[in-house]
């Protein structure tokens, strides 16, 4: 019990400690460039570790489901809330002959299982949201059929703070709780589930997934890349470094920017609202522990492909948090997903203000993504073999080292 309430001082690092622990040497780009490494990543990382695939509030009611294409594991998954309220995950594969049980368009499809069953359209096999095979048309026509063993193929699935994770390993080496470790303590306790207003953007980028991940993993680029959408961003400070096993985190502080007149109007409205105003008091105790007024957001890297940027209304006006995920489609192609989360607007003015903040942040993302395909082309050209990384890019250095450990089999 004591352990759960002890401060997380052991994960904090000063800059000299980061340099000492992670090194300062340039980092090889081989893991980005080499298609064979992608095959290893699929096998040793994406089929072994916990991956966030949904949120509980996307699937509020029993029967609500999400189909997600997972090329990184060569499958399609069905994530569904059962009658008992639990969210489970299955391969979206019919045990009759392999058709998709729930057909889908695009990378993500949402739906509702009526009467808590899903029916394969090919021959009409019916499965419960608990995975069990419920009925088979013309069952008597099968000389042999062990229905009890023909349920949907289940995938390990667990929730942390309403974020739904799966693990493709039939016997995961670690529970989700152990895998997240101190990250769950660092980020735990924030009322994520209250921010059900989500604006999700996605795009397919012609780059390796790590190029996209790394571009969103540092604050060094803010004054340059975001000179358009975040003009005059003052006093940016990327600090409070933390190392958490395979994960890492840090904080962006900043004295603000030269907000345009319309932004001031929309932001003022959100800042004046009880639901949307900055809530540094709601931040977990170990994030911005001194409650600095210039806190913008916490920027972690949750291995391998998830970022949850926790702002609690302190950064982008009214925004609780935003997430990024980077799903490799193949070695040189990545599905990027960015989601802005707000508490629900109580009136139309708050709605319009959220639209403005969302648009500004989307525009900043357009500035971020502008670099990725060019960076990948540059790395593939062979002109450079290494990345030069500064202190504020330590999340990249740490992720690259963690990746190497997993590929070498020293971590699993």
């Amino acid at each position: 019990m004591l352990k759960d309430t002890a401060p997380l001082d052991h994960i904090r690092r000063t800059v000299p400690q980061i340099r000492e622990e992670l090194g300062v040497a340039p980092v090889s780009v081989k893991a980005i460039r080499d298609p064979q490494i992608y095959e290893l990543e699929k096998e040793r990382i994406f089929r072994k570790v916990w991956l966030k695939v949904a949120t509980g509030w996307e699937l509020p009611n029993p029967g609500d489901y999400k189909v997600k294409e997972m090329p990184v594991a060569d499958t399609s998954i069905l994530v569904v809330r059962g009658k008992d309220g639990r969210i489970r995950a299955y391969h979206n594969v019919c045990t009759h002959r392999g058709n998709k049980v729930v057909p889908n368009k695009g990378f993500e499809t949402f739906g509702r299982a009526r009467a808590n069953v899903v029916t394969c359209r090919f021959h009409g096999w019916v499965f419960g949201t608990d995975g069990a095979l419920r009925s088979v048309p013309m069952e008597e026509g099968f000389g042999q059929l062990d229905k009890a063993c023909l349920g949907l193929r289940e995938i390990a699935c667990d929730e942390w703070e309403g974020f739904v994770f799966i693990n493709f390993d039939p016997e995961p080496a670690q529970s989700l709780k152990d895998y997240l470790g101190d990250f769950a303590r660092l980020f735990g306790g924030y009322p994520y589930h209250e921010s059900t207003t989500a604006f999700r953007y996605s795009t397919v980028l012609k780059c390796n997934w790590k190029v996209a991940l790394y571009a969103f993993s540092e604050g060094y680029h803010v004054p340059t890349i975001h000179a358009g959408s975040l003009p005059g961003f003052r006093g940016i400070e990327h600090s409070d470094f933390k190392l958490i096993g395979p994960h890492a985190s840090s904080t962006i502080y900043g004295a603000g920017m030269d907000a345009a007149p319309s932004t001031q109007m929309f932001a003022g409205l959100l800042h004046g609202s009880e639901d949307h105003r900055p809530r540094p008091d709601q931040l977990p105790a170990d994030i911005n522990p001194t409650r600095r007024a210039d806190f913008q957001f916490e920027i972690p890297n949750i291995f391998p492909n998830l970022l949850i940027h926790l702002a609690s209304g302190c950064g982008y006006p009214g925004m609780s948090f935003f997430t990024h995920q980077f799903w490799p489609l193949d070695h040189g192609t990545t599905l990027w997903e960015g989601i802005n989360y707000f508490r629900p607007a109580k009136n139309a003015a708050e709605r319009a203000a959220q639209m403005h903040v969302n648009a500004l942040h989307r525009n900043a993302w357009l500035e971020d993504t502008a670099t990725m395909e060019d960076t990948f082309t540059g790395i593939m050209s062979g002109a450079i073999d290494e990345m030069q990384l500064m202190d504020q890019e330590f999340l990249i250095r740490h992720a690259a080292l963690t990746l190497d450990d997993y590929l070498a089999g020293t971590l699993q």
Partner: protein, 117 residues
């Protein structure tokens, strides 16, 4: 560009009818499509019409539900959302319909792109 002449606005906001006809649309995809076609003069004119009225419009919208059904309220919100989207192009991006030095916005897919408001 289609002009929607049937947009009733709330009493006291009739002066915004021309900009509403020009800009107010229910979905992000439609608002973006208008924005991509617009030029610096369009954004400046939108700003000139809206800037002096934004505070009053938002005050009015504070008393409307977040997804109003009443047509005048709905149109007022569509107009505010259109301005929320367009204003940075005048205020930050020098009148450019694109975010300068950015990824192709048409390749960014909003899940909610066709959802009204």
């Amino acid at each position: 560009m289609t002009i929607l002449n049937d947009l009733i606005l709330p009493a006291g906001f009739e002066d915004l009818a021309p900009v509403a006809a020009r800009w107010a649309r229910p979905t992000e995809n439609e608002r973006n499509a208008l924005r991509f076609e617009a030029g610096a003069a369009d954004f400046a004119a939108f700003r000139d019409a809206m800037a002096p009225r934004l505070e009053a419009l938002l005050d009015y919208l504070k008393d409307c539900p977040p997804n109003p059904e009443e047509p005048a309220q709905r149109n007022a919100l569509m107009l505010a959302c259109a301005y929320a989207e367009a204003a940075p192009h005048h205020e930050l991006y020098g009148g450019s319909a694109e975010v300068p030095f950015s990824f192709d916005a048409r390749r960014f897919v909003p899940d909610h792109g066709n959802d009204p408001l």
